[in-house]
Assembly symmetry: C2
Homo-oligomer: 229 residues x 2
Amino acid sequence: MKPTQIVSRRRGDGKSLLTREAIVSAALELIRRDGLDGLSMRRVATALDTGAASLYAHIHDLDELLSLVLDSALSGVRIPRAREQWDKALEQIVLSYLRILFRHAGVARLAISTIATGPNSLRIMEAILQLLEQAGCSAEDAAWGTDLILHFAASTAAEQRARRANLLKEISKTLEEIDAALYPRVYALRRDLLSGGIDRFLWGLRAIVKGILGESGTVRKELTSVKHR
Amino acid sequence: MKPTQIVSRRRGDGKSLLTREAIVSAALELIRRDGLDGLSMRRVATALDTGAASLYAHIHDLDELLSLVLDSALSGVRIPRAREQWDKALEQIVLSYLRILFRHAGVARLAISTIATGPNSLRIMEAILQLLEQAGCSAEDAAWGTDLILHFAASTAAEQRARRANLLKEISKTLEEIDAALYPRVYALRRDLLSGGIDRFLWGLRAIVKGILGESGTVRKELTSVKHR
DNA sequence: ACCTGAACACCGTTCAAGT
DNA sequence: ACCTGAACACCGTTCAAGT
């Protein structure tokens, strides 16, 4: 009877079409504004003027949405073309990764708890693997090293984020009140333990990279002997 | 009239007294059995034969409970007395920490997302700070280094845990299917990226420690000049 | 002081039913 | 094929009321 009316119910009214991309970008917007805890299927649905059930036509479950959101955020990570100086290039990539994680609260926590396999994660891993090999790492050490570096960056970002919130005050107050006789070093270094922004990050990155290169080759043999003790 | 009956409603019937300790140990038991996602106020309450509301007389909120659970688990971390060989002692402590996190699924995830300030965390930090200073670190580097080491151990444990679940199969399948032309190194190293147990952990720990010691002193000056670029 | 039941404001996910 | 409302089985937390 009225065949022209049989179209997506999303057309005609003000609503835009419901797509995977629209869902992911709404979720990213939400996570950016309210943090990871502010994200829920129901809230994403509300932001898109629909019910939570509608999302399941495009996305398998919350876990999948979170993976997609992480990779979407990582699309902003810049990888330099020229790579003559592997150490400079490595720092650029990892700083860019850090900045992205830092920009959106909550995405850092996501990066920690997920073993990422999205295209942007792969892009970043590929670049770091290449640089570590260029630096003289064995392929196997580069694999573990890449993982180590990315984990370190994600942890740093997540921790910095936690500090932003009123948490920092609370924690430093707790550290201020600990028993200085029982924990003399912790007490003496209570400020250093919480200090540091980009300086601390670069310090850690360089320590890790130096360590990876230093370990390369020599240690695997040692380890096998340790194992059999 | 019947003054002898006016006692805790917890007495008389089979129920044991509701205490902070009982709540924490029930929560730890739950987390050990079902993982972090299996833990909830309501489930802890049920395990103690009561309603969720009753817990709030002893514990401020879920966050506090999680902190208490983490520290309770960390009471199992052993710290050797004799410390002539700082490197051996350090590995013993960190391996003990790792083993504890590994033993109870979910506690590792907890250790990552929390900046721990419980007595057992402090105990562990104090010991590592001491060993790093003994190794020749400056106090400030020891502070950052301790944090770095503990984070690394927690990340490792959390990731290993994630692998135990059916997640590993899924991830390695995904890596098996990626575009080898686009990501040649990731593809070539797909097994190495997921491999490794205690070997990989010791490799990383030694890399980090070597890095920390190598960075000590020289780098802070560099960093200040970098900052002003 | 400690414990309780009921209520409030949320969750993720499923499913039959609509277009 | 896509979208929907209602339902199911959960959450953390509060609060008046009981002992």
